[in-house]
Symmetry: C2
Subunit: 103 residues, 2 copies
Amino acid sequence: MALAEVFRALGDPVRLEMVQRLVKEESCTISAVSEGLGITRQGARKHLQVLVSARIVQLEPKGRDVYVLLAPERLDEARAFIAELEAKWDSRLDALKKFVEKG
Amino acid sequence: MALAEVFRALGDPVRLEMVQRLVKEESCTISAVSEGLGITRQGARKHLQVLVSARIVQLEPKGRDVYVLLAPERLDEARAFIAELEAKWDSRLDALKKFVEKG
DNA sequence: CTATAATGCAATCAAAAGGTTGCTTATGCA
DNA sequence: TGCATAAGCAACCTTTTGATTGCATTATAG
């Protein structure tokens, strides 16, 4: 399942923080999303690459800088997947409830 | 962020499959959720433990069996987190749109 | 034109993850 | 009582992950 890769990418505090930054701030360079995370630039860069591989973000070089762009499609797929699980779960509970009511 | 642990737990095809099984089927034993995953029982058990640690599932021993119960709260937190990201993202796009319209 | 800032690339390293095998324990059923 | 089934525990192994350091490259600001 390709979704597992998306969840995995979100499964780290550093990467989660990066995604949150990208949601808040318009136009982040790699430097910007990597600052103040308590790890080195290269460490952060590896995390960023995980997000790129999961296609949660895209990189766009512009001169000396590389801009990091959020690609929200994958996030939406992940959200929808969980929502579907919840829907199935709820309908099962409903069925159970009706079964109990019937006696 | 505790949510990272939830995402991480979902970030594996085997565990994702387990969760899907638990949504579909009522009352699964450890054996049931571990069958047919292409790995050994002990391997599956380790995956299950990851889900337990992330509090996505609970274990309930009953006699010789141990039942695996889905605890949907964490899944809902994860879904809500993404939904919130999307909301922020959308409102930023709206703001940008208005800015552009104003000239 | 040169210094500096943004980035890339590679080697290295410890720790965690994913998986296995082997053995033990305990429960339920015939 | 005896045997099959469900599960636990521990050791072990390989690969991946998270992070580092060091050095090279490239582009912009003065």
